[in-house]
């Protein structure tokens, strides 16, 4: 006797959203985005309350006027895409794999000095939450170390045609001569092997001079300026050791930078902290009064105590309201075919266009490593000079056991709380460094901003859907965009 199995279905894992009067779905297992038609919408409606039998679904669709063959075809399509799945399917445990030891390096962040001429009160390198252990260590990277780092990068990059070097600090320009030397050396070495090196630096802009700007422009060094906004906000926490604000010093230098440096977009990177939450006001000041091409925002990293600079619930609400207002502007621009400078939207859009599905929140320890002034390797610039996080040395190479441990713990599959979150393909648990500061473990999910991440991702999906309906050509512009952060 044969017993036929009754196929019963449930809805697969998905995040549904509406935009411009249409229905869409974001699929976390793949990072895929689909527009749904009315029939699909109907099937998902029938599965809203749980499980339904195949035959019952076909009957229900037939009652709505669909031919039986078409109904079978629809269910087959949804099954293959996994919008519906058999009720007894058991999700596989996430696979936590680390890349091979010879995974080719793509970028180094050279911490050219751990010294800074400012004393920003929230700084993760000097402030209350610092993890670096700088006592007794080299304060300025030597040209020999920088050259060895360049050699290490080119050697470890294997088949890559282009690699990237980011100069970081401390205040990067306090060691500008080394930066110059490293760029010239790397260009020469790369030319010997027919490869390319691209550059970027982050600076507080206090030490910019016309000759420095010209060098950066001539070598197409991308510049990101850490700045918090108009004078009263910049001077609240971005101060000299005397407590004097830095706005008046940097303003004329920023104007010169933007006027003279045309080879790369000039970006501003704003740290949001207590009292510095007027996202819209800051954006318009930096974009229209100073002239930055792109402006990105991130809340300050801090522990639970928050100190005097951490953002509380009200602060984060104000930030999200500001982000939403700027997102509205971004969409208005995009519908006209113009690019808006709010890079938090642009970055997420470019990930959604590709369908990014991350195993790790960022490239730290994968294609990217930080290098301390003394040549120690770390997962990224935020772990520079922190003994506990050293991953080797440019002369001896990567400590594979430590790297593997870092990547295993940081893998999204290791973060239990992330397994049921639809935003995990883009977030993957969030910043390793922030997790360490907050929870004492680089592999801990950053649970304090989950709602925020989901809210923001949903907002950008809404923009995505609207553009897919009303200006789909605009989405194609993001195909080649590469995130720089």
């Amino acid at each position: 006797m044969t017993t036929l199995l009754e196929h019963r279905y449930r809805a697969g894992e998905m995040h549904r959203f509406q935009a411009a009067g249409e229905e869409f779905v974001y699929m976390p297992q793949a990072g895929a985005i689909f527009a749904l038609d009315a029939a699909t919408n109907g099937v998902l409606g029938l599965l809203q309350d749980g499980v339904a039998a195949h035959d019952d679904l076909v009957t229900a669709l037939a009652d709505q006027g669909m031919a039986t063959g078409d109904a079978e075809g629809l269910l087959r399509e949804l099954r293959m895409v996994r919008l519906v799945e058999a009720e007894n399917v058991v999700a596989l445990a996430p696979i936590v794999d680390t890349p091979p030891d010879d995974f080719p390096l793509q970028a180094l962040v050279l911490n050219v000095t751990n010294q800074c001429n400012l004393a920003c009160t929230y700084c993760y390198e000097f402030g209350a939450d610092k993890i670096s252990t700088q006592t007794g260590k080299t304060k300025y990277m030597t040209p020999e170390t920088a050259r060895a780092a360049v050699d290490f990068l080119l050697e470890s990059a294997k088949g890559r045609e282009a690699v990237h070097i980011t100069f970081f600090g401390g205040e990067t320009l306090m060691n500008f001569r080394l930066l110059q030397d490293a760029v010239n050396y790397a260009d020469a070495r790369a030319a010997e092997t027919g490869r390319r090196v691209t550059y970027s630096l982050t600076t507080n802009a206090t030490l910019l001079t016309d000759p420095i700007i010209d060098f950066l422009a001539d070598h197409a060094v991308g510049v990101t300026v850490s700045i918090d906004g108009p004078a009263e906000m910049q001077d609240a926490r971005r101060v000299y050791k005397s407590g004097k604000g830095s706005y008046a010093v940097i303003l004329p230098r920023l104007k010169a930078l933007i006027a003279r440096h045309k080879t790369r977009a000039i970006a501003a990177r704003v740290t949001l902290s207590a009292g510095v939450t007027d996202v819209v006001g800051i954006y318009h000041h930096l974009k229209h009064e100073i002239g930055f091409h792109e402006i990105g925002f991130a809340p300050v990293t801090t522990t639970d105590e928050g100190h005097d600079f951490g953002l509380n619930g009200d602060g984060m609400s104000a930030v999200l309201a500001g982000f939403n207002a700027l997102a509205d502007e971004w969409l208005e621009y995009a519908l006209r075919g113009e690019m808006h400078g709010f890079s938090n939207v642009s970055e997420t859009m470019s990930e959604l266009v590709v369908g990014t599905n991350k195993s790790h929140p960022c490239g730290a320890g994968l294609g990217l490593l930080g290098v301390s002034p003394s040549g120690d390797l770390s997962p990224c610039h935020r772990f520079t000079d922190a003994d506990e996080h050293v991953l080797g040395h440019i002369n001896s190479g990567v400590d594979q056991a430590k790297r593997s441990d870092f990547l295993t713990r940081g893998h999204v599959g290791s973060k239990y709380e992330c397994t049921s979150c639809w935003a995990r393909p883009l977030c993957a648990g969030g910043c390793h460094h922030e997790a360490f500061v907050r929870y004492g473990d680089t592999g801990h999910a950053n649970l304090h901003y989950c709602d925020w991440i989901r809210g923001w991702t949903d907002r950008v999906l809404d923009i995505y859907g609207t553009l897919a309906v009303r200006n789909p050509e605009f989405l194609e512009r993001f195909a080649d965009r590469k995130g720089l952060s």
Binding site: A32, I33, L36, D37, E77, V81, V354, G355, A479
Partner: protein
């Protein structure tokens, strides 16, 4: 796909995979216009496990254990079978005619 419209690179890859699967990859053994007989079995002129060499079921292995034995000799059956190439070359030495001697096929302890 008729009902879903892919809107990003990953969705388009899923669409392409599904189209390929429908057209090329998966074929039911009895699917028209003719039965598809598993390759190894059809080459050795011995019965397969769902249809026989003529596309029917009359010539299927009897008893069921014959099926296992046939896979051991002619097909790749990765899990249940003794490894007759490396470790258990004499596994079937007591089983000259599988339809009669199948009981002498024993469990292997690697």
């Amino acid at each position: 796909m008729k009902h879903l419209k892919p809107l990003n690179v990953k969705a388009r890859r899923i669409e392409a995979d599904i189209s390929a699967a429908i057209e090329e990859d998966v074929v039911a053994l009895q699917q028209a216009p003719r039965p598809h007989v598993p390759l190894g079995c059809s080459l050795s002129f011995s019965p397969g496990w769902e249809v026989d060499a003529s596309g029917g079921t009359a010539g299927l292995c009897q008893p069921a254990e014959r099926d296992i034995y046939d896979c051991y000799v002619t097909c790749f059956w990765p899990v249940q079978m003794a490894d007759h190439v490396n470790y258990s070359a004499d596994w079937a030495s007591n089983c000259a005619a599988a339809t009669k001697d199948w009981r002498s096929l024993d469990i292997v302890f690697p």
